[in-house]
Amino acid sequence: MSVLEQYVDAGVRPAPAPSLSVVSASNLTKRYGQGDAHVDALRSVSLEIEERRMTAVMGPSGSGKSTLMHILAGLDQPTEGTVRIAGLEISSMSDAELTRLRRRHIGFVFQFFNLLPMLTAEENIVLPLSIAGEKPDRQWVEALLETVGIADRRTHRPSELSGGQQQRVSIARALVARPTVLFADEPTGNLDSSTSKDVLALLRDSVDELGQTIVMVTHDPQAAAQADRILFLADGRIVKEIGASTAADVLEAMQEVSGR
């Protein structure tokens, strides 16, 4: 039994509820620039992200994956359309409301880790809690450190950790506040294939064992193969959607999408 499962069994985390949509978007359009030089990064995208599942967003470079994720996470404003997270309409939120939303509902995993260089691994992990002014739950933090496998490196600074270790620290950081949804943009984009596997397994475990909801942008079929559901984006539109698949199936679907 994994550390996380023990933790869940201890009853600290409530038992999974039936699947619900935690993020929903309707008719999202994003236009960069004006006039002749404009780019339509998203064209009327609507989607629902289900709770306790990992959703992968795939597509060729420039298809609008990152733009979609930034808008879903409230980092950017759509030109048209609405986004709801945990039932809250976010496009009309003030900066203070968005801040509260991020503290309670959103976790991020970045391609370039974005760890704070002057803090130790452990300090980086508990940072979201200290920012929110909450006391870290020691047991929970220990469990996370254990799970991501850097309990023995907790006092190291990011510059003293490998890329894979840094990304695992940043996953722990994204999980520590138990967000409603975790967004990851190319979390393995900066890692080699074997460390990528560890990181992906970790994300998968958090869905299976903690019931974490994850939205992951990737162009790596191996990564997408970990997902419960895969959305394909091309030219700013969702062009295809498949359920859990093998890497080979994903690759095939990708070729089909880009070949259109």
Binding site: S66, H70, L75, D76, D95, A96, T99, R102, R103, I106, F108, F110, Q111, F112, N114, L116, P117, M118, L119, E123, L127, P128, S130, I131, A132, R173, A177, D185
Partner: protein, 849 residues
């Protein structure tokens, strides 16, 4: 969040320390000034507290005219009456802290800078009233004996039994040193002591009656009660103070000057802090820009704008507080340095244990921290505008301020406002305090305005001052000029800090040049003598009247016209008055008559020649009558005989000029302040030697040719100018820290680019040269902004001082020297950053993220 801010500072130690240094100097100046002036004050207070330790009451002459040459004495009859009082245990008539100059074996007065030459007449049998303690020998008894202070004896190699000369108000007289003494346990700085018995002191000082009567009360009688009992016994020319009142009165009188020194030095501390604020503002702005991504990441993790603001302000607070603490202690060293500077300028101050007052600590810490916080406020506000999405964008930069497009207008308004305040201060305000206040405030605004607009001037200025770099620096030079304009607002802010110091230096130099020229001009217009007789040392203002007569007896001397001077109360204010020899003055001095003519001189009688603007101010015309009250309280009626308008830059004669006969009749102990001499055949080396020989017997006086005298008068500003330069150098040093800072941060930011340049063949030497040229270009931009600004300010001020006859004179040579100074500052600032850039490991630099 607090931890993030603090750990961030620790992670950037070198940069944090450099940032803090910008404030350390300003704070050190403030704390050093307080420490120095408090210590001086304490030292003087010590001298007088010790001196009046056992004195319960002290009787002295009343001062009728502020700063007059003499104070009335207390008649001996008062001593008899005071002794008869039932509550009096003892009373003694004496001379305390009067003026007696010692004269060395070469006939030169022994004077240490501006320190006083003190003379005492003391009754050694009344030991309790005696401020002096004997170190060796015995007390002076009878004429011809003197006790001198141990410091002078050591310095000038006098021992008990040696002959020494001294002079009070009469001629120099010989004495034998019979003892050495000092004021017990306290330092008197460069002051000299000459202690006589009471009758000898009376004779050398040429006084009847005592300077002071010291009184001790019987046990159980308070100081206050004693003073109250004495009061009714006194004539109207005398007053009584308790011992402690007298001690603080004397100390206040002596330290009045140290308050001026205090505010003067504090002003330069404030300037250094202002420059430091620019540096801090710029440095924090740059570090914020470099941490855009980190700040954005914090926002994605849930940090609110307020938290970002607080964390940046916390950094400023910590830097400010740490720098203020460092500055506070650096002030201890600086106080010693300032003291050494005054000693070098010939001002020897007494010493006491260093006074480190609570006020010094509080003011230094509060000011240092607040200035840093204020400078960090704008960057902190900008930091809150970093959007969270910058966390995921490559090369994210700080968003431009929403008001950026309004900046040129704002700059214009601030500059115009500054100019308006300056003009208002200069042309429409009276009272030195408010003029200086407005001038300071206006200059501050002008600096801020120019700094705001300077980023728009960086490109054109860099292409101008970058010419030598491009021509001489090769590829490195061209890269340097390009680098200096790639972030104009940074270069501008860095240059603006240097601009302030250089502008003030150019201002002082231009004003000084104008002053020097005007004084030469003014003196040349007034005096047409061959030789000028003046007091010999800076400290003294007078020499005995016999000196001039001695010269007059020489063969070949055609005219000696001496000028008596003193202060008197006229029309309700203390005013300088001169007594002239009406028959001869016309041959050596040109009166610029307003009303009247040279004819007025021939029958001056009890008439007065009055400065025309003074006359206008007091509604005096020819025939108007007014009274003059001398320092002994005596009054004299005067009639205006003529008015004249001397050049205001340096009038040789004061606002009220009377005949010598009237002067000598009115003032107690008339003395000369100047004498003008005309000789047959004009000045020559032989004549100079002859006149010098004749003056040798009068150590208080000195003779010079008119040309030498004019040159010396014009040069007298140089010392003050040098003091200004030294103090302004502090601000320039602060701005050099700013330049170092900006370059270090730029090198850090361009790590990858530098690695690339090195990889494609830029040598270490070229790398250093590139950084150096960029630094010099920045410094020259500072000079290009600052020097014209300083000259402009000086032009405005000389315009306003036009009525005082001070003209504008462009000091071309000095300005060229300041440009050179800027280049040197630029090269100096580049040393550390250039070394850092050259040391970069090419491989690491390329991998740097």
């Amino acid at each position: 969040m607090t931890a993030v801010a603090l750990k961030g500072l620790l992670g950037r130690k070198f940069r944090t320390i450099l940032t803090g240094l910008a404030i350390v100097l300003g704070v050190a100046m403030i704390s050093g000034t307080f420490i120095l002036t408090d210590t001086i004050h304490k030292a003087f207070t010590n001298v007088f507290n010790v001196s009046y330790r056992h004195t319960d009451a002290i009787i002295a002459g009343k001062q009728f005219v502020a700063n007059a040459n003499s104070i009335p004495t207390v008649p001996p009859s008062v001593l008899t009456r005071v002794r008869a009082l039932p509550d009096v245990a003892a009373a003694s008539g004496s001379y305390l802290f009067d003026t007696v100059t010692l004269v060395d074996r070469q006939g030169k007065t022994i004077a240490n800078g501006g320190a006083p030459s003190l003379g005492f007449g003391i009754d050694p049998s009344q030991a309790r009233f005696n401020p002096i303690t004997l170190a060796s020998g015995h007390w002076a008894q009878g004429p011809g004996q003197v006790v001198v202070d141990t410091a002078t004896a050591t310095d000038k190699h006098y021992k008990v039994g040696d002959a020494i000369a001294a002079k009070g108000d009469g001629p120099v007289k010989p004495y034998t040193v019979v003892g050495l003494g000092k004021i017990s346990g306290v330092s008197i700085g460069g002051a000299t002591l000459a202690v006589f018995d009471v009758p000898t002191a009376a004779s050398i000082l040429d006084k009847h009656g005592y300077d002071n009567i010291s009184v001790a009360a019987k046990p159980g009688v308070s100081e206050k009660r004693l003073a109250a009992e004495i009061k009714p016994l006194l004539p109207p020319t005398a007053q009584v103070r308790t011992g402690s009142q007298q001690a603080s009165h004397d100390a206040a009188e002596v330290t009045a000057g140290s308050n001026i020194i205090k505010y003067f030095l504090l002003a330069f501390g404030a300037i250094a802090l202002f420059v430091g604020a620019f540096v801090i503002f710029n440095t924090i702005s740059i570090t914020i820009a470099q941490r855009t991504r980190e700040l954005a990441t914090l926002r994605t993790l849930g940090a609110s704008r307020r938290q970002v603001l607080r964390s940046v302000l916390l950094e400023s607070f910590v830097i400010g507080l740490a720098a203020a603490v460092a500055g506070l202690f650096a002030g201890l060293g600086l106080a010693k340095g300032l003291n050494a500077m005054f000693v070098a300028l010939g001002v020897n101050l007494p010493q006491a244990g260093t006074v480190f007052a609570g006020r010094t600590i509080i003011v230094s810490l509060v000011v240092g921290t607040l200035v840093t916080l204020a400078a960090g406020l704008f960057p902190a506000i900008r930091a809150t505008r970093v959007p969270p999405i910058s966390a995921v964008r490559e090369g994210a930069v700080l968003p431009r301020s929403r008001h950026a497009h309004r900046r040129p207008y704002l700059a214009g308004i601030v500059m115009l406002l500054g100019l308006a305040v300056i003009v208002q201060g200069l042309f429409a305000t009276s009272g030195a305090g408010s003029v200086l206040g407005l001038l300071g405030a206006g200059t501050l605004l002008l600096f801020i305005g120019v700094a705001l607009v300077s980023s728009y001037m960086v490109r054109p200025l860099a292409s101008l001052v970058g010419r030598p770099a491009r021509a001489l620096g090769g590829a490195a030079g061209r890269l340097a000029v390009a680098n200096s304009v790639r972030n104009p607002s940074r270069t501008a802010a860095t240059a603006a800090a240097l601009m302030i110091g250089l502008a003030l230096i150019a201002f002082v130099a231009t004003l000084g040049a104008g002053l020097r020229n005007s004084v030469k001009d003014a003196l040349g217009k007034q005096v047409k003598a061959d030789y000028v007789l003046t007091p010999s040392s800076q400290g003294s203002e007078f020499f005995p009247a016999q000196t001039a007569s001695a010269l007059g007896r020489l063969r070949g001397v055609e005219v000696v016209s001496d000028i008596r001077s003193d202060r008197a109360n006229v029309l309700g204010a203390g005013t300088a008055v001169a007594g002239i020899e009406a028959a001869t003055i016309g041959r050596v001095y040109r009166f610029a008559w307003k009303q009247g003519s040279d004819a007025a001189l021939s029958h001056l009688g009890s008439g007065a020649i009055v400065d025309s603007s003074y006359a206008t101010k007091h509604r005096l015309g020819i025939g108007s009558r007014f009274t003059l009250q001398a320092s002994n309280g005596a009054t004299q009626w005067l009639t205006v005989a003529a008015t004249y308008h001397p050049p205001q830059a340096d009038p040789v004669l004061p606002k009220i000029v009377i005949s010598r006969a009237t002067f000598d009749r009115t003032f107690p102990r008339p003395q000369d302040s100047q004498a003008f001499v005309k000789v047959e055949g004009g000045a020559s080396a032989a004549r100079t030697a002859e006149l010098k020989g004749a003056v040798a017997a009068y150590p208080d006086a000195k003779i010079q040719t008119q040309a030498a005298w004019v040159a010396a008068q014009a040069k007298s500003f140089d010392q003050a100018l040098n003091l200004f330069y030294v103090l302004l150098a502090l601000s320039v040093i602060v701005s050099v820290f700013g330049m170092i800072n900006t370059l270090v941060l730029a090198v850090f930011e361009r790590t990858r680019e530098l690695g690339m340049l090195r990889a494609i063949g830029l040598s270490r030497r070229q790398t250093r040269r590139m950084i150096r040229h960029e630094s010099v270009v920045t410094a020259l931009i500072g000079a290009a902004l600052g020097l014209p600004l300083g000259v402009l300010l000086a032009a405005l001020v000389t315009r306003a001082l036009g009525s005082l006859g001070i003209g504008f004179h462009l000091p071309g040579q000095q300005l060229a020297a300041f440009v050179l100074l800027a280049v040197v500052a630029g090269i100096g600032a580049a040393v550390i950053p250039a070394r850092r850039a050259a040391r970069l490991n090419v491989l690491h630099a390329l991998q740097y993220e």
